[in-house]
Symmetry: C2
Subunit: 187 residues, 2 copies
DNA sequence: ATAGTAACTTACTAATAGGTAAGTGTCAAA
DNA sequence: TTTGACACTTACCTATTAGTAAGTTACTAT
């Protein structure tokens, strides 16, 4: 059952969003799936293997959205809105971005996972740059702004807002999103 | 020796910045201080007690900077620069903001520490709002912007940038700081 | 029917975590 | 000189962690 592997990875991502890489355990996963811990080890021998699988899924998700961005005929305006808001809505208020969570736990990560999360972060930035560039071409974003700088700032502020949201409540994210809009919109 | 307690708390904060609340252990601390684990327990019986002491120190640091902001005769421009850049320079590239780290580990924190980190986050926001309001009064920041929204956006983006810096390198933070400046400066 | 494989379970290990009880050395006040 | 507090150490306990070895069940192709 290849499905079981997917189940485990999905649950691992969710747990990483809630508790982080260090804090989640094979016991958490096995109990929630109603199997023994050893059966999780059967699918992913070491925690490192599961960690790599997790980062590979995150990578693929981003690749998918990159393809979607490039091919879809949706307006640049909608793409920008979608990508940002999607992150916000996909997660509950107690969850943060899985990439942020792994960045936070970076020093405790096995080497293989460290390298992967580096790749994921770079790809994420590429995706955001793609969106910003399109929005700029559509004159939604002021073209005098530097694509790279704007992209990295949007990503940082959204990820940071998700952290604050967890302790200060839902409003934080909405406020940051509003302010980003104010900053970015062409006057 | 009240000094030892301070040593422990300082080291705990550093370890939280590097590895997070869940990942750091009494063993880490005792080894780095050259004493036994039990002696750390003598000063802070439970990990929760140390966690509370840590958040209380973070709170006091913020209170100090709040006083400094209100009393110092430095220009609003300088204050804004100082507060933001201070965070960046105080930490090494492998370290993130201790508040962010505790926000990430929020779900794994003891209740008492959760409540404290909530207070710390609110105070941090207050400090940033104070700075933004002053900068606005000095017409450095466009006065049409909402103080609260701008403050929460600055905090979020700086904290987020520290996460990305850890995996993508030092440039990230500089870029975000530059972009924030571009957004904020009066035209 | 049988051999083989996938997906498990049972039962274990070693390491590490937080935490505790009881004792030791040192210093200062009575 | 003794009492007592402080700052420890030694020696432990229990729970949890990642990880493993060996056996079990069920399905599948030959």
């Amino acid at each position: 059952m290849e499905n079981r592997k997917k189940q485990i990875v999905d649950l691992a991502i969710k747990l990483i969003q809630q508790k982080g890489y260090v804090a989640f355990s094979y016991d958490d996963i096995s109990k929630q799936l109603g199997v023994t811990k050893a059966s999780i080890h059967y699918h992913f021998e070491k925690k490192e293997d599961l960690g790599v699988a997790v980062t590979e899924r995150l990578f693929m998700r981003l690749q998918d959205s990159l393809v979607l961005i490039k091919n879809s005929s949706v307006s640049a305006e909608e793409k920008l809105k979608q990508f940002i808001q999607q992150q916000a809505e996909r997660f509950e208020c107690t969850e943060i971005c899985p990439i942020s969570s792994l960045q936070t736990d970076f020093e405790s990560l096995p080497n293989a996972v460290q390298e992967k999360i580096e790749e994921v972060s770079r790809l994420e930035l590429r995706v955001m740059k793609e969106i910003v560039a399109e929005a700029q071409a559509a004159t939604i974003i002021n073209s005098s702004e530097d694509v790279h700088q704007v992209a990295v700032t949007i990503l940082s502020s959204v990820k940071g807002a998700l952290l604050y949201r967890r302790v200060l409540g839902d409003d934080v994210l909405v406020e940051v999103l509003n302010q980003l809009n104010r900053f970015l919109r062409n006057p």
